[in-house]
């Protein structure tokens, strides 16, 4: 019984803390696979987290907030695309800029809207993302922890399969992968490199925004400046870890989720320092890389601005 409950707790922790990473990592896959380095995922998540919380606060709907969080991320994706695709700016620099502007703007607007407070007002349970089968299971039971949880979490997992399908089974997916490997070849076949990359980068912003708003619309229930800090980078790390495939990135995110789950299980005992436990996912990721995964093959055209000849 105890084991089942504990297992439920761990799974619950995974279901809470991996969806934002998974969504952002899927976004990162789109961008990187099409040949655009997007280190601005972090900033896109933060603006998504803010927008999600604020829209849900005013509309009372978690789903509308969630969607708008995605759209806000997409808007930043558009900025990233504009600068590094159209103007051929260095993609790392543009991404770094977005990591300053996104969180900066989020807190800036938060203060403007909420009387100089850097936190947005707490959301009522009704205006957060809904949980499935709410009230059907006893609090603390396995079912309560595993089944009666945010449907958006399961949605994000489902999205992994959907995006895998898009990447490897559809025309659009072939286009994305080809554009990231050999843009010139694509151009000679009449595929628009620019258009494909724009779509991918905007999509990456959208997914990162969704990931960000999942954070504020689930457990945290409000926007705070520190609500995202680092998660965007972890998502990027998961993607490199997963060799730029949706499935691999998902696996990378799960490592973090699992470690977090264990952390929450050990949470209150003071035998091991909580700081050391927090360190585990990062150490584990490094160890897995050193001993099992090794080299990650970066898409050939990744990071290189594509300049069309005239």
């Amino acid at each position: 019984m105890n084991i089942v409950t504990n297992l439920g707790l761990v799974i619950n922790a995974i279901l809470i803390c991996t969806p934002p990473l998974v969504l952002a990592a899927l976004g990162s896959c789109f961008s990187e696979r099409s040949g655009v380095v997007n280190i601005g995922i972090e900033g896109m998540m933060t603006i998504g987290a803010f927008t999600g919380a604020v829209v849900a606060y005013y509309t009372g709907s978690g789903w509308i907030g969630f969607l708008c969080g995605g759209l806000a991320g997409a808007a930043f994706g558009l900025i990233h695309a504009l600068f590094c695709i159209t103007f051929a700016a260095d993609q790392t620099i543009t991404g770094t800029a977005i990591n300053f502007i996104g969180p900066g703007l989020a807190v800036f607007l938060c203060k403007a809207l909420f009387d100089n407070s850097s936190d947005s007002p707490a959301l009522s349970p009704a205006s957060k993302l809904p949980k499935m089968f709410d009230g059907k299971f006893a609090a603390g039971s396995f079912g309560y922890n595993v089944i009666s949880t945010y449907s958006a979490a399961y949605l994000s997992f489902l999205l992994v399969a959907v995006i895998w399908f898009v990447f490897y089974k559809t025309r659009f997916g072939m286009k994305i992968r080809a554009v990231g490997e050999h843009p010139k070849a694509c151009e000679t076949l009449g595929i628009s490199v620019i258009k494909t990359r724009y779509i991918c980068v905007i999509l990456s912003g959208f997914l990162a925004g969704l990931g960000g708003s999942f954070v504020t619309l689930s457990t945290v229930s409000q926007f705070r400046p520190s609500v995202i800090v680092g998660q965007g980078f972890i998502a990027i790390a998961a993607v490199i870890f997963g060799k730029f495939s949706p499935g691999g990135a998902f696996l990378g995110c799960l490592i973090f989720g699992l470690c977090n789950g264990i952390k929450s299980l050990l949470g209150d005992n003071h035998i091991v320092s909580p700081n050391l436990i927090s360190m585990i996912p990062y150490v584990v990721t490094m160890l897995v890389l050193i001993f099992f995964v090794g080299k990650s093959r970066v898409p050939a055209a990744n990071g290189k601005p594509y300049v069309k000849s005239k």
Binding site: A178, E181, H182, K184, A185, T188, L189, S309
Partner: protein
């Protein structure tokens, strides 16, 4: 010589008139005309940089002409994108293949025009169509292999299939024989014949006269961006074609005095190596180079030449075997050690390996010797000495423009870049000089310069290993020719006795009887 009987003079498929293409102040195409008929093989002849590729990129919609008109099948058209060109039935096989390495043959062929079943790419249908085309035109490919795993010849067939799959009636082949064996070239010529028999027209861009004589009906010559003439190939001699191409008589033979080779400098013994994928690429290779001789290594790209040179220069490691340099086994030592042992090389890819393009000419000239006197003292660079050295080299090797010491190497022309490399490698006074495709992409003047220099170094009693995919170059320069095939030396002939047919036979894996 079998001539093409498929030409239909009554149907003009391409009519390009007065095409001008400027890049800034540089005119790449200056009023060029081109007429191609149905079923015709039309060659476009010109030196590197003459403007052949520019003209074809205009026809294919990759470049927009500054002025001039294009008619396809009698209709004036505005080809503003490859998409448009494809829809007009034009297909292009680029000199540098446009293939996505990690993709399969099938994926590459259908890319951009995938058959679908619902929303899923229908690989089965794609495979069927490809096999059908491949049968019809005798283009053998493995539809499920990845590009990175197939030979250059097959990659080219994939490129041709890509074009046919899109329903092209006009095929542009840009330097299609650059990395094929003589036998593969013959096969390609047969394929071209199949295509024209089916009513398709082929534009053949090349600077190889023999191929033009063999395959083309007509030939348009371009020199320095200008239209020179269009001639009937059957009525024009190779010499005349060459003269029209370069604007003067060309001497392809390099003068070379008889010379007895001296002591053994380099000996490679039973060398085994794997490529980056772990496939065995050198399978027990043996090679000797002595003082005062040029050993030519003939062979088709991909038979282990790159790995051999990488191992001799220390860039990659052998699995087993020996590289003996002046009596010492130096196999698997780092590049710096090899260099100090007296091995220098003119690399195959000068922009990637030969030069730091963002470094000045002066810096590139000391890329190996920066740590030695007089260029540095106690780890501090001596700028004056470095500049003096550069000025001396620029003068000695006629590197242009004059006074380019501080100019970035990337801003020099290809020929001058090669001169910078030669200046650096030759002055190292090393015992062994390796030249890997030393004239690739150079114009005739620069080629002559490089060839003369190699012979001069040989006469100075240096050991020279010449690796080239151009059989003419090997035959023109070498004292001895070793043929590499499938990671081994399959035959060795005296330079004087070499003839193209036996070499070609060995390059394709046949044994020398």
């Amino acid at each position: 010589m079998a001539k093409n009987s498929n030409i239909d003079k009554s149907q003009v498929v391409i009519q390009m008139k007065d095409i001008v293409k400027k890049f800034g102040s540089f005119t790449a195409n200056d009023h060029i005309n081109l007429t191609v008929h149905k079923g015709e093989v039309h060659a476009i002849l010109g030196e590197n940089g003459a403007g052949k590729s520019t003209l074809m990129n205009v026809l294919y919609g990759l470049l927009t002409p500054t002025s001039g008109t294009i008619e396809i099948n009698g209709q004036q058209v505005d080809i503003d994108s490859p998409d448009k060109a494809i829809s007009l039935g034009i297909g292009m096989v680029h000199q540098h293949f446009m293939l996505v390495e990690p993709f399969t043959v099938t994926e590459n062929i259908i890319l951009g025009k995938e058959p679908v079943k619902g929303i899923v790419v229908d690989k089965k249908e794609a495979r069927r169509q490809i096999l059908e085309l491949s049968e019809k035109y005798n283009l053998k490919v493995d539809p499920d292999a990845k590009i990175e795993d197939i030979s250059v010849g097959m990659q080219q067939r994939v490129e041709i299939l890509k074009v046919l799959y899109r329903g092209a009636n006009i095929l542009i082949l840009d330097e299609p024989t650059a990395s094929l064996t003589p036998q593969e070239i013959t096969e390609l010529m047969d394929i071209i014949k199949n295509l024209t028999a089916d009513g398709k027209s082929v534009i053949l861009i090349t600077h190889k006269l023999k191929e033009i004589k063999f395959a083309a009906d007509n030939c348009t010559i371009i020199r320095k961006g200008k239209y020179i003439d269009t001639v009937d190939v059957e009525e024009t001699s190779e010499d005349d074609l060459a003269a029209m191409m370069v604007g003067r008589k060309v001497n392809f033979k390099v003068e070379k005095k008889e010379q007895e080779p001296g002591d053994l400098v380099l000996e490679v013994k039973n060398l085994h190596a794997k490529d980056y994928r772990g496939v065995e690429i050198l399978k027990g290779l043996n090679l000797k180079v002595r003082k005062g001789e040029i050993v030519g290594l003939a062979g088709v790209d991909g038979n282990g030449q790159s790995q051999l040179i990488e191992i001799i220069t220390g860039l990659s490691k052998a699995v087993s075997g020996e590289v003996i340099m002046s009596g010492e086994n130096v196999v698997n030592k780092p590049p710096k050690y090899m260099f100090e042992k007296g091995i220098t090389s003119i690399p195959e890819d000068r922009q990637k390996h030969g030069l730091v393009l963002d470094f000045s000419v002066a810096e590139n000239l000391i890329l190996q010797n920066f740590g030695k006197a007089p260029f540095s003292k106690h780890g501090i660079l001596q700028k004056d000495k470095i500049m003096q050295h550069a000025t001396k080299m620029i003068e000695k090797f006629d590197i242009r423009p004059v006074g380019c010491e501080n100019r970035l190497a990337g801003h020099l022309s290809g020929g001058n870049q090669q001169k910078v490399i030669i200046a650096r490698e030759v002055t190292n006074d090393a015992e062994l000089l390796i030249a890997f495709n030393p004239t690739r992409g150079l114009d005739v003047g620069a080629i002559e310069f490089v060839h003369k220099y190699l012979v001069q170094q040989r006469n100075k009693n240096r050991a020279i290993l010449l690796v080239s995919f151009e059989l003419d170059e090997i035959m023109g320069l070498s004292d001895r020719i070793d043929v590499i095939f499938d990671g081994k030396i399959v035959g060795s002939v005296d330079g004087k006795d070499a003839d193209e047919n036996t070499l070609g036979y060995m390059m394709a894996g046949g044994k020398n009887e």
